[in-house]
Symmetry: C2
């Protein structure tokens, strides 16, 4: 990559772990020529040259032993020799095998993909093993991704801004145009491919005037170029579209999905897109949500709306990714009968089975909006006949905006491991979205990007771990947060045990620390409206967004029970419904999401709610200080630039954590009048 | 004026009140030729033609009786004949005489100014009398303005936006340039002159990059053209400047006011401005305030900062208007030792007498920032040796943003009539700012404009009354709010008694109504941060802006007493300090500005604080409904367009008043737990 920005986890630092097998790296045997194959070979060459100071020979056949072999499983050199039939059947088109063999006393490594994409992923896998200094003498890896769709959503606008971006400007757009220099996009594609991402949508789901024209000839040549860059790394390009396009750019008087002229317009438009981009992925659609147009305008439902687009895309193999983030954002806070948390389920569950097979519903992990703590959306598992895609937010909109350290993999793990009980015990979300529970045709996992044109890509250097972790989890949801953290640290900062130990602890503790000093016990939303940074307990309390905590002088929380509340708990399968419905079984960390309780209510931890608020907020700040102390122990073990960058953010985090602590504590002290039992400073 | 926008109070509607004296309007005798004189004559001609359907003859001498005579008091036709010597001495350069005389059985009216500006003001005065159908047969008017400087501050940016503007875009600027079409500026100058405004600053006090260049040759030709338009209506043009100009456009490394190169740069710059605009008014300066640069950067005080500019302007007769809106806007809410209300006094009072004679300190009416209710700034009267100018806000930033009706003249009247006791009883603010109390060389009153390019100029049609009223009060502070309201209504909507009665009541009640349903008892600031519209009780409570109410479960208010609080009351002269210091004498409407009291504290009205909050908020909404009912009684008596425009705003006002009522009531119910004693609906 350029000197202008960081290489993240593709650093390929000098590596002395394989001196006994150096001959391995002298020769690469290449058995393919597609662009993806070429990208794989080039990556391997770059990695080896950088790590071992050896520039490998690229040859079509091995003349002697000691080489790395790149090819597909169909190649006669390996065909039939590597795998049992059963294993081979398991490997999907993106899967691969990596096998070490000693021939004539020299180590050879065979990297064989089912297709060229498999080869690419295998190369990155092998390079990761090398960066982590794993033993490569007895490799026998058979691997393929669990989720078929592993996607990144960009919320980039063509003026170069990024909605909810905290790492600079867009790497795709500036001043209403595509950025001419494409190198950064290429390096971004490498980063994504290295963790197995295979789909990307490049523009904001809120599609404004200029971006509406991305599907026209004005911009399609540029889109095609960008798609070409991604294609070489096995990544399909998608666009977010404006549902009102037939009106806004088509000159029609309607965008009614049942109107033949509208259907015709989309078919023509889609055909044109595919004339530029033969493997175009499809559309991402935010419709009838937060003032975006959609089928509701015409009295149609979401299935009508999505299927119309699906029919246009179907002949080309394209898909529609239809977002379920639909709710009444003009709610009257005085009306307690409405519960925003119920909206997605209420809108979509009745449409189960009505969507075409090339439509996927994209569902946010929780029923609200990417809060630091939410229950899992009850929509997962509730639509056995409709494809589902899990959406998480890599960009830290509500989790510290890349000023605060917040490693989100543990949160995502909890979501993936959550048992929906859709088909009885063992119906975890991960099995819904990998398609195995209901046999979905399309499914997977998408994440909202956290990158921008900052030199370190993600604002906070340690936030790179979230992008890395998202890709790895989407590929292999059974990986643990610990494993992912370690992989990322070693590749990014090296394998010094203290570095690995301290940064691991920092990453793995960080989500809980952030939760400790922000909104308590799952209630969420105590942020400044609009930009969503910093504490504001009543910031959303009297707003139209459907986001309330109902704190009064006696207690706090949202009663979402069937018995006395909004009835939201009924949207879960009975096991979970019962768990959340009862105060006895509702987990502490979600208590205020489901129940309104007095400040003096005793948690399962034994603390009262008010004392928990005080304790967690005092603790959270101390823990934030601890993050900085851990980092300071690494001075000298990390290059000065990255060391100072991170140190600066950790310092800011402490100050802002204090602000959170004091605002929250003062707010609840003023409201409850209850003193901290340990007599710590609460400003009156 | 154009058909594209309203004529406001210069409608000159058809008028049948003077049929007996029609010959009067057939002839205008003109005794002068300056641009201002010409503007006066043209205005009179327009008014007469429009009202009476007569196109008057303009002649240099009267051939026969029955005419309107326009000239100066020096003219031999009137010199010595009109006034006693003593009266004449009283008339300043902007004063005038209007006298009716019957000659040969025909009515003649002599309009005689001290100078051509006096003629212009006298013509507008006479036209006002005609529009109001006053008896003109025995006129004997001797008039001059009380305040020397009667100014409008525009907060217009060159991109066309207006900071705190609620009536469309700028009429001066768009897309970083001056608007080419100048007609609207000319009609605006007419409106201002008609109420006696004689100074205008055309750009925002927050001077950004483009606006910094207004004082360079890039824009001075345009400024000069605009100044020419205003000059013809007796109005001097001022510019807001960026204190860091020597660095930003001068290429110097400092803006230190004591640095000779900086002084030299400003002298050169000022000379250049005057080469374009010989009667340029001077500079408006916001320095060391809300992130604006200023002398503090260089360890200098405000007197150093202002005097340097004053020296540059002095040779040309220009002045420096130096704003006193200086405070720590990065305050820590946890630190109770700081009180923003004290800032202006603390900064400026010690500099009494240190400013040059052509510097005026511009002081906001209250110590905070244009809240619906504040005490008068203690700085008024506290600097006998330094010129002072009162700043009020015509644009309704905190008073409903021209969606709500809020006639501000009653508020300004209270400020003007407030007795500072600076020189004992009878030291009202109006006597400070008209210069009489301390013999100031320069002084007066300025208002932040509420106009934009909306067809009705002010967004809310009835908000025109605030612009009108500001000008009239600046000219004649002793006018009552009732008189001003009546003048404006008759000129704007005609003299139907029901129209006058209903709109008068609407205007005169509106400030109190708005106060009733917003922040209670002078505490202020319960608005959404940033845009400042709509209720948000804690919106500024934990911010860095120094704006707090300290509400907890027991009580509310800011203790600013000497005895137990911030000591702010000590900034007043003893009579006022004692009044505010004591709970017994502090007026109810400012109680929470000065004292922190329990919700159960009894006001002088007999109500408890909490019950007052509930009562005023329930009442406020009913009163807002009443405003609409009054207006509806005027259907058919007002043209449909203006009727519907106002009706629409009054409807919005009711809805938004309900939102205010419910948010405030719920907030305080949740906090206090005290029920409304009348059992009205408070959302829990």
């Amino acid at each position: 990559m350029s000197e202008l920005y960081e290489r993240c986890w593709l650093r390929y630092d000098k590596n002395e772990a394989y001196q006994e097998n150096e001959s391995l790296f002298a020769t690469i045997v290449i058995k393919g020529a597609s662009p993806v194959f070429r990208a794989a070979a080039v990556e391997l060459e770059i990695g080896i040259t950088s790590m071992f100071g050896i520039r490998p020979q690229i040859v079509p056949h091995a003349e002697q032993s000691g080489f790395i072999w790149l090819g597909t499983l169909e190649d006669e050199e390996v065909n039939g020799s590597f795998l049992r039939k059963k294993e081979e059947e398991l490997i999907r088109s993106e899967g691969y095998v990596i096998r070490s063999l000693v021939k004539n006393g020299r180590l050879c490594v065979y990297i064989a993909g089912k297709t060229d994409k498999g080869v690419l992923y295998a190369v990155f896998h092998f390079l990761r093993l090398l960066q982590m200094k794993e033993n490569i003498e007895r490799l026998s890896i058979v691997e393929h991704p669990k989720n078929e769709l592993r996607m990144i959503n960009h919320w980039d606008n063509m003026d170069g801004s990024i909605e909810r971006g905290y790492a600079g400007r867009s790497i795709f757009f500036e001043s209403g145009q595509f950025i001419k220099k494409r190198q950064r996009m290429k390096d971004y594609a490498r980063l994504l491919a290295s963790v197995g991402i295979n789909a990307v949508s490049i523009n904001n789901v809120n599609v404004h005037e200029t971006e509406t024209k991305l599907i026209t000839e004005k911009f399609l040549p540029d889109v095609a170029e960008v798609a070409g860059i991604f294609r070489a790394y096995g990544i399909k390009t998608f666009l977010s579209i404006n549902y009102a396009s037939p009106i806004e750019i088509g000159g029609l008087s309607t965008a009614d999905p049942l109107d033949p002229s509208v259907q015709q317009w989309w078919k023509k438009t889609v055909a044109q897109i595919y004339s530029y981009i033969p493997d175009f992925g499809g559309f991402v659609v935010k419709a009838d949500s937060e003032f975006r147009p959609g089928p509701f305008t015409y009295g149609r439902n979401h299935a009508d709306g999505a299927n119309m687009l699906a029919e246009a895309l179907e002949p080309f193999g394209g898909i529609v990714i239809w977002r379920c983030f639909v709710y009444n954002c003009q709610q009257d806070w005085r009306d307690r009968t409405i519960d925003r948390a119920k909206a997605a389920y209420d809108h979509f569950k009745p449409l189960n089975g009505q969507f075409h097979s090339n439509v996927i519903l994209q569902i946010k992990n929780g029923p609200m909006d990417f809060q630091v703590r939410e229950p899992v959306s009850p929509l997962f598992g509730a639509m056995p006949k409709t494809n589902q895609l899990l959406e998480v937010q890599i960009t830290q909109e509500y989790t510290g905006q890349q000023k605060h350290l917040c490693f989100l993999v543990p949160q995502w793990k909890e979501v993936l491991e959550f048992d929906t009980y859709a088909k009885g015990k063992g119906s975890e979300v991960k099995k819904v979205i990998d398609g195995s529970l209901f046999g979905y045709l399309y499914s997977g996992m998408t994440g909202v990007s956290n990158i921008g044109d900052d030199p370190n890509w993600t604002g906070h250097t340690l936030a790179q771990a979230n992008l890395y972790g998202f890709g790895r989890l989407a590929w292999a949801p059974d990986l643990s947060a610990e494993e992912i953290a370690k992989e990322w640290i070693v590749q990014t900062f090296g394998d010094d045990p203290q570095v690995v130990e301290q940064i691991s602890r920092m990453l793995l503790d960080s989500w809980r620390i952030y939760e400790n000093y922000t909104a308590p016990l799952g209630v969420g939303w105590m942020v400044n409206p609009g930009h969503h940074y910093g504490p504001n307990v009543d910031g959303y309390e009297y707003s139209h967004w459907g986001t309330y905590h109902y704190a009064d002088r006696d207690g706090i929380g949202v009663d979402r029970t069937i018995a006395t509340g909004t009835g939201y708990t009924a949207q879960y399968f009975p096991e979970n419904a019962a768990m959340y419905e009862s105060l006895d079984t509702c987990p502490d960390e979600l208590l205020l999401f489901f129940h309104h309780v007095p400040y003096t209510y005793h948690l399962k931890s034994g603390e009262t709610v008010i004392q928990h608020i005080y304790n967690s907020h005092f603790d959270g700040v101390e823990q934030a200080k601890q993050l900085k102390k851990r980092w300071e122990q690494l001075k000298g073990k990390i290059d000065e630039k990255r060391y100072m960058d991170v140190l600066e953010r950790l310092t800011i985090q402490i100050e802002h954590a204090k602000e959170w602590r004091d605002v929250i504590n003062t707010y609840f002290y003023r409201k409850s009048g209850i003193d901290d039992q340990y007599g710590r400073t609460i400003y009156k």
